[in-house]
């Protein structure tokens, strides 16, 4: 559908970012080469341009990083909380100062629109460090005993969908509570974590408190199985989460796992349609749908199905897909060729199984990894696209008649991370929210995040919470009579 008004291109400048041709591993406060000298390339998903070469950490490098973190742990954990807090406040401030540079960098390496990195990712990253900075000298008041102790060295593995934000979710609470960390960014989005290493240096953070090791799944596995790691914090797929849970069985290692989801976004017949449609769009097309808490299943009450779908299709026709650095862009690139192949295959399965596919007309760029926003109607609960996490801009639409049916369908999944409810009736919101087996429920809104708000799933979406006071628990051993947890 042609727009009434065309937008002129409004690209954000790349000049604010200076990407080096190659990066080493950040261990014990220094950038060093990987032991084997292996490197891999990171590309811009919107153009396939090679952005830089980064070191591929081996088990030997992981050992070096863990030793550095262990060495740093004694002094760091013994530091008065007020001093640890000030380091985190410094980091938060430097992130704010460098936020435009980091937003552009993240958009280049990840492919997501600059509007999102600038307005969502970066403000939340800074806010997260500010929030946990304030906790560092107040831990005795967190309800975890008078003198809770840090666990030691945390091994942290983060995904590619919100690279710097996931780093903040992991590192800020770990450092505030006196732990030291070895963090592995995702293979396809290593750059913002390496820039963060530079921020640690600027903040004067003691050597070894934060170590950044780049690499692939093998690097992550070496980190998980390292015997001197006390805690694993992982965000990623449910399959890998299960492998981690198996790997650490019988050890003293603790874990928080933030895994997949298949969130239901439930629209009742009394919901204001325009607002619900905006919420549906935010729910599944924010970050190209590459969000574990995406509202990837739309459950719409049968009586308003046609009206909602018509309005939704009209809205999708106005979404702008293309150059992520353009400030008008709504949907950017898919993060990698591998992810694009997965989305493509699942969408084809949806068609093959009999669901009805629809996308607005949109021109996709010729290079890079792209997938048009896609709707499936006539979807049943047995369809693969109603069960499997697609992690892309693909919405499966199902219907229901009664609130009971909506709840039963929403809960009919191995996952339990998020859900949405759209209705004008307050008591219905509360009744439905109480029965949804999901860790985050957004009512008349969707995909809202805040450092004070605990985030995490039920069932196979993982365990533990990140954010808020709850997020401290994952990094502390309470000084209760029973001691360890």
């Amino acid at each position: 559908m042609a727009s009434v008004f065309e937008y002129a291109p409004a690209p954000e400048s790349r000049a604010v970012v200076d990407i080096a041709p190659s990066y080493g591993l950040f261990i014990d406060g220094e950038f060093t080469e990987a032991a084997g000298g292996k490197v891999f390339k990171t590309v811009s998903p919107s153009t396939e341009e090679v952005l830089a070469e980064v070191a591929q950490a081996s088990a030997e490098d992981i050992d070096r990083a863990v030793k550095a973190a262990r060495k740093a742990f004694g002094k760091w954990s013994a530091l008065p909380g007020t001093e640890r807090a000030k380091y985190l406040f410094r980091i938060a401030r430097i992130i704010q100062e460098r936020s435009r540079e980091l937003a552009v960098l993240e958009t280049l390496d990840n492919g997501k629109p600059i509007r999102e990195t600038r307005d969502t990712d970066l403000p939340l990253v800074a806010a997260h460090f500010f929030y946990y900075a304030g906790w560092a000298d107040k831990l005795g008041h967190a309800g975890l005993g008078a003198d809770p102790r840090p666990l030691g060295v945390a091994g942290q593995i983060i995904p590619w969908n919100f690279p710097l934000l996931m780093l903040a979710w992991k590192i800020a609470p770990a450092l505030a509570t006196g732990n030291t960390v070895v963090l592995k960014p995702a293979e396809t989005t290593p750059l913002s974590a390496l820039f963060f290493a530079d921020i640690c240096r600027q903040a004067g953070l003691p050597k070894g408190v934060v170590n950044i090791v780049t690499g692939d799944g093998g690097t992550g596995a070496a980190l998980v199985s390292h015997p001197d790691i006390d805690k694993i914090a992982f965000t990623g797929s449910t399959a890998v989460g299960k492998a981690i849970a198996r790997e650490i069985a019988g050890t003293d290692k603790r874990a928080t796992l933030e895994l997949g989801g298949k969130g239901a976004n439930i629209v009742f017949d009394d919901a204001p349609v325009d607002q619900a449609v905006e919420g549906i769009v935010t729910g599944i097309f924010f970050n190209q749908g590459q969000v574990c808490c995406a509202g990837s299943r739309l459950l719409v009450q049968e009586s308003v199905h046609d009206e909602v779908l018509e309005s939704l299709k009209r809205r999708l026709s106005t979404l702008r897909v293309g150059d992520p650095l353009d400030k008008n862009t709504d949907l950017g690139a898919i993060n990698s060729a591998e992810q694009l192949a997965r989305i493509t295959a699942l969408a084809e399965t949806g068609e093959a199984e009999g669901a009805e596919r629809w996308s607005p007309a949109c021109d996709l760029p010729s290079s890079g990894y792209w997938f048009a926003p896609t709707l499936f109607t006539n979807v049943t609960q047995a369809h693969t696209i109603a069960r499997d996490e697609i992690f892309g801009p693909v919405l499966s639409v199902l219907t229901f008649r009664t609130p009971e049916e909506a709840v039963a369908k929403a809960n009919n999944t191995q996952y339990g991370l998020s859900a949405g409810i759209w209705t004008e009736k307050g008591s219905r919101i509360l009744a439905v929210a109480a029965r949804l087996r999901a860790g985050v429920v957004w009512a008349n809104t969707f995909n809202k995040f805040d450092p004070t708000s605990p985030f995490g799933g039920y069932k196979e979406s993982g365990y533990g919470r990140e954010g808020g006071r709850h997020g401290l628990e994952a990094y502390l051993a309470p000084s209760s009579p029973e001691g360890e947890r």
Binding site: G143, A245, G250, G439, T452
Partner: protein, 298 residues
């Protein structure tokens, strides 16, 4: 026990499982001999099978909606009623604990008293834990944001092997106080107090299926429970290190919440750790709107 007419033959009790509010024998028809600490025969206990374990999960799942949906006040009332019933059977439990654990009567009595007091303690927690671990979150935007704890679901509890009653109560009460339902595997060698507890629960207004008690070989019963896709959590207290590792690996397949075993003095203050081990945190957002000149809006 009280004085008994020397000429009167006492009536033995057939110990049975407690599943879904009923007292079945093991579906396998198997029993095993339970002896006192000196090896003298006390009774036969049901030797539960994998099928018994699966039946118990079905009962626990069926009971979950009602029990987790009951008001916290109501759950507290029921738990307190259990303590009242325990008090009435105090003498029986003292005898069973003394025989099982080889304790002098005074020490067995102290353990039973502590166990009853622990029920009372947990009964009082039902309507307070949400205020301690939940609350409003001051998000940076026009939203009401509330975190509340909810029960994880069906929880398998491997009762401690050495503390047949105080230990059992200490691991079971916190699981159901928060609204979970439980499948309890009694101490393998000392199962009789646990089986008798089933009789107390059956007369305490506790809905059938909220607690299900199995006796038998811990390793045999625990394996299918750890791997069961409809069990949400497992407390490994009664497993040794080797079994605990095996079960934790099996539990990973459905990402069960796992409470690992560790040495515990059952007489000490338990803290809130066991209450929170099988709780999920749910966070609900809603716009607060604004009352500007143009009226309220989302």
């Amino acid at each position: 026990m009280s004085t008994v007419d020397a000429t009167r033959l006492s009536v033995f009790k057939t110990y049975k499982l407690y599943v879904g509010g009923k007292f079945p024998r093991s579906e396998s028809g198997r029993v095993y001999e339970v002896t006192d600490s000196k090896g003298a025969w006390l009774a036969h206990a049901p030797l539960s099978s994998r099928k018994d374990a699966r039946d118990a999960v079905v009962s626990a799942r069926k009971a979950f909606g009602g029990w987790s949906g009951a008001t916290a006040y109501n759950r507290g009332q029921v738990l307190y009623r259990i303590a009242e019933m325990l008090e009435g059977r105090r003498g029986q439990f003292v005898r069973e604990v003394a025989e099982a654990e080889g304790l002098p009567k005074a020490k067995a009595a102290a353990a039973v008293d502590a166990a009853i007091d622990r029920w009372v303690w947990y009964a009082g927690w039902t309507d307070k834990i949400a205020q301690v671990v939940g609350g409003a979150n001051p998000v940076a935007g026009p939203f009401f944001n509330l975190s509340t704890p909810e029960p994880t679901g069906v929880v398998t509890v491997l009762a401690p092997q050495d503390s047949s009653f105080l230990g059992l109560v200490s691991v079971l009460a916190p699981v159901i106080a928060t609204g979970n339902t439980a499948v309890v595997v009694a101490s393998e060698r000392l199962p009789l107090p646990a089986l008798s507890l089933g009789e107390v629960l059956a007369t305490s207004d506790l809905p059938g299926g909220v607690v299900n008690v199995l006796s038998g070989r811990t390793a045999e019963i625990a394996a299918p429970l750890a791997a069961h896709q409809d069990v949400n959590g497992i407390d490994l207290t009664g497993a040794d290190a080797v079994l605990a590792k095996e079960l934790e690996i099996a539990a990973a397949d459905s990402l069960k919440r796992v409470l690992r075993p560790h040495a515990t003095d059952w007489r000490s203050d338990p803290g809130t750790r066991r209450l929170t081990a099988f709780l999920e945190t749910k966070t609900v957002w809603h716009p607060t709107g604004s009352l500007g000149a143009s009226g309220s809006s989302y």
